[in-house]
Symmetry: C2
Subunit: 195 residues, 2 copies
Amino acid sequence: MTMSKRDTYTPESLLAVAVQVFNERGYDGTSMEHLSRAAGISKSSIYHHVRGKEELLQRAVGRALEGLFGILDERGARDGRAVLRLEYVTRRTTEVLMDELPYVTLLLRVRGNTPTERRAMERRREFDQRVSELLKDAVAEGDLRADVEARLATRLLFGMINSLVEWYRPDGRGAEGADQVVDAVVRLAFDGLRA
Amino acid sequence: MTMSKRDTYTPESLLAVAVQVFNERGYDGTSMEHLSRAAGISKSSIYHHVRGKEELLQRAVGRALEGLFGILDERGARDGRAVLRLEYVTRRTTEVLMDELPYVTLLLRVRGNTPTERRAMERRREFDQRVSELLKDAVAEGDLRADVEARLATRLLFGMINSLVEWYRPDGRGAEGADQVVDAVVRLAFDGLRA
DNA sequence: ATAGATTAACCGAATGTTCGGTCGGGACAA
DNA sequence: TTGTCCCGACCGAACATTCGGTTAATCTAT
């Protein structure tokens, strides 16, 4: 290994560091000084790679949104009986959330203080609306219970999935493999806790 | 009406304003200037009522934690078969969350940047641990499914309940009454989405 | 009832620090 | 050499809080 080799950042690698710190401290609770310490470069060096703090946020939430909306374009989300599509979307959303955990985490925590955040929140509402329609279709086809209002059910379902950002860690805690988590989500969501 | 009448704040009423703004903008995204504008008094006047920004946070999360831990002391959470206790706790947690929505919302969003936040997070972990044990008991008594690990199931269950802070609004959106929401939570949690 | 004393609630200015970002220059690698 | 990547010093604005003072309300003595 050559010690004279300079480890340099790319916008991508810098983003990964930034997103991690944003998630730990919150976006507003993270100063550029915090970022520079975490990245091991000076604060001003960051501006070589990105125009500003908000650009980091924009890239991160953009990546998360791309992942989520991508699911809705997949075959399993478009073809077939509504309840199967909903189950597919449930699985894939859980998988994307775990694959892009830092980015989706950040997305789910935006508040609306900046234009970037407000746009991200708007996009999230679109996604929720799409899924709510899917759930409504499954109820109409008689596969899902009708005694819980579709919008409410959607919110509770995605509330559960999105909660993964609060506790799921890819490095594994005990026997929690990714597949186990996905299966658990689907089981609890569709069949509940009861034996 | 006499225009010279002075509307004064109490720590309680000021807290309510603060918590609302904290929830809109995030704690770190909220400056004392934001608070002073929302409260309609000067920034410095706030310090007559509270020692500092963090004291507001401390009071708010304290109130939320008091509500949640209070549930665990209630009769329905202590006596009877584990699955009934779990259902009771599920209902009561949902109710407390809705009754103390601003305070629980703030609690659920703390990050850990201040001592107050770190202590609150520690307390939340205690609460989660208590509930996880209850769910484990219900599995052991054969009332709840054993194919989903108890800790994971607890997290998904409370993930769903806690998601209310993101979308539940007491002023009602359509037919969403509080009782309807509580019933929906219990139904989806214990019996799932399937018809 | 009234005036003076006291207190609570409030104010704008000031303070020291931190914020996101800029600038001129240096270090590094090809 | 040149372009990329980085640096420390610096900027004006904003941060949470303190300071000395004002105002309105309340209390007390007459």
